[in-house]
């Protein structure tokens, strides 16, 4: 890898083999802009369009246009950004448009169209199933045949850093009040760039998915348990879902693919069990500064390509800005449980007012180091 001239960036988690995108604003500017992170600095992409062979569409502020422009332009842009940030001759033109990340605010990085949440970890589904259905099979009958998922509320997906108010609701018959069982769920989210009018095959992940975000799918377990039959989660989830402000391009994860667990029974042809399926993305679940667990995406049963193929297999169209998430990332070990429900065997303690949850994600980078995906942070506000 050619070395960057950006001070402090070489060898960091945000070296030029990463280059995540966000929508930024700052107190001293009226507009917002597409920012690219390098080291501890954020580059204003629009400001360097004229100094580089970059598409004029990047002069616009909205990520939406970048998302829908497709893999060829994504790759061109990435190549050009690496050139700008490594060629010393470009430094005089580019450096004035870098500013410290502490000086910017990251907005929700894209307008979420539809939001689908899957349930792709066998370890999570089995532990939750055993808690909720102690006398039955912990996995529902279809679990190993298809990636089970449901639609969540797109309008309440919020950017990392947005405080999350404790929801109020029915905790049981005649019992209305603030949730007593507020939980976090550490997940990985996939951001759809290019939409589709036809089913998307499981080989087409890179043609449609632009990148990944961290996701905290906040959950009110008491509300969820009471309302969930027979149509699934609703108000127990719909109050807030936090995602990271930086989108890591899928291209930055080229070195992160790993085999993934065997799938038995083999899924049907449209879910072709392509190799590799797992992603070596390690997660840290941090509560008030203390690491609670370290799950890894590497052990997830269903791959993002399989989730995408399944989601569109019935003819459902796909749109720019669709977001699909993995469901709780949990591994086989006790210290790899991705939610409090699992970590406490359903007993709690649950999240308290004022608690701060931070999810951190790392993955091998193509340059040989380890990149850090954008973190997902949120503090619990008391009920209204």
């Amino acid at each position: 890898m050619v070395e960057t001239w950006v001070p402090g960036a070489a060898g960091s988690s945000y070296d030029v083999d990463h280059l995540p995108y966000g929508e930024a604003s700052a107190p001293d500017r009226d507009d917002w802009w597409i920012a690219v992170r390098v080291g501890d600095l954020a580059l204003d992409v629009a400001a360097v369009v004229d100094h580089a062979m970059l598409s004029p569409l990047l002069r616009t502020a909205r990520m939406h246009l970048l998302l829908r422009s497709g893999p060829r332009l994504w790759a061109q842009l990435r190549t050009e950004l690496v050139r700008l940030l490594t060629d010393p001759a470009c430094r005089p033109e580019v450096e004035p448009h870098l500013r410290p990340v502490e000086e910017i605010e990251l907005e929700l990085p894209f307008a979420v169209a539809d939001y689908v949440d899957f349930y792709a970890s066998e370890h999570h589904a089995s532990r939750v199933g055993a808690l909720f259905r102690p006398d039955g099979d912990p996995l529902p009958p279809a679990w190993k045949h298809l990636p089970i998922g449901y639609h969540g509320r797109a309008g309440t997906v919020v950017a990392s850093g947005t405080p999350v108010r404790r929801p109020t609701g029915q905790r049981g018959p005649g019992d209305v009040g603030p949730t007593r069982r507020l939980d976090l769920e550490a997940e990985l989210g996939f951001v759809v760039g290019v939409g589709a009018e036809e089913p998307v095959g499981c080989e087409a992940l890179h043609r449609h998915v632009f990148g990944v975000v961290g996701v905290n799918d906040w959950s009110a377990r008491d509300l969820q348990a009471w309302e969930t039959r027979p149509l699934g989660p609703f108000l127990g989830k719909s109050f807030a879902t936090s995602i990271s402000g930086w989108i890591t391009p899928l291209a930055a994860l080229d070195a992160a693919w790993v085999e993934g667990p065997d799938q038995d029974p083999p899924p049907p042809a449209y879910l072709c069990p392509e190799t590799p399926r797992g992603l070596d993305v390690d997660v840290e679940v941090v509560l008030n500064g203390r690491v609670l667990s370290r799950p890894s995406y590497a052990s997830m049963y269903w791959s993002p390509a399989q989730m995408l193929a399944h989601m569109t297999s019935n003819g459902a169209t796909l749109r720019t800005g669709d977001l699909f998430a993995s469901g709780t990332i949990s591994g086989p070990r006790d210290d790899q449980r991705g939610c409090l429900l699992e970590l406490t065997d359903g007993e709690g303690p649950w999240l308290a007012d004022g608690d701060e949850v931070v999810l951190r994600y790392t993955a091998p980078s193509t340059g040989g180091g380890r990149l850090a995906l954008g973190e997902v942070a949120g503090t619990v506000l008391p009920a209204r």
Copy 2:
């Protein structure tokens, strides 16, 4: 009611006490525009803005701006349209902007933000519960305590007239193919105009909901049954949801409110059982020109105000363009069943390729007649 000068409109289902809105296009025009139906004619609202005391925002084509402008402007617009269409002095200016509805195409009338589908008919939920859980209580434990609902796929909500392709999917373990149990569901949908950052009380329906549409929630029963545990419907529903091209303003239904069934146990305070709760909206389910059933919204257990209050009670925000639907409208009688699952006791026959489903809706109008909501039509295409 003052009589309209529009030929053929007085006393029709589209008299000036109705005035539904749609987004129209036509082969001889490049743009689309907000149309208001009167009789068998459609008025181009933007074209008469300058002849009337109408907000300049109506010059724009998109319904979104009208939706978010709120109840005061909705009422002003309605008053002004009635004046234009009843005052003979306005006729010379207005008549050139009326054209036969057959000459226009209705688009999806608004951009759907989040789509929530409820399950508000006790008769539907009981019959379906008895079919799926013959040995248990037909109603799930929470059913009478809260309006059960789930999020559907906003991106596949389509306008009436759009053909619906038979979905393919898993009908059971290892069994992939076109659904063998394609069904319709006759529902009523509520279109959110004004969003909210705080919970919306059940008295606030008219401050947030702009109007109603007919909804056909197409369902693949075999796909749905196999995938649905534990997270609810997903691909069995997400391939298509059809809505009418005309939105009937809530104001046009002022004479349609009726008592509705008793609620026992009384729901909690935030779901105040306000009177009246039912809507005297009669539905006709028509398959290939034959009326299959005639359910009525009057017997629905949960009211639209209760659904809206519940949906936001946990702090979930509301956006302009959110759509929430009632779930299948079914009454106590056999000829009031709103889907084939109920009409055939789960045995079929189901929808065949080429079948045309039309849902028609009527309600008492404030002028003393009966208005016809926009119909919802769709023809089944063979699987891909």
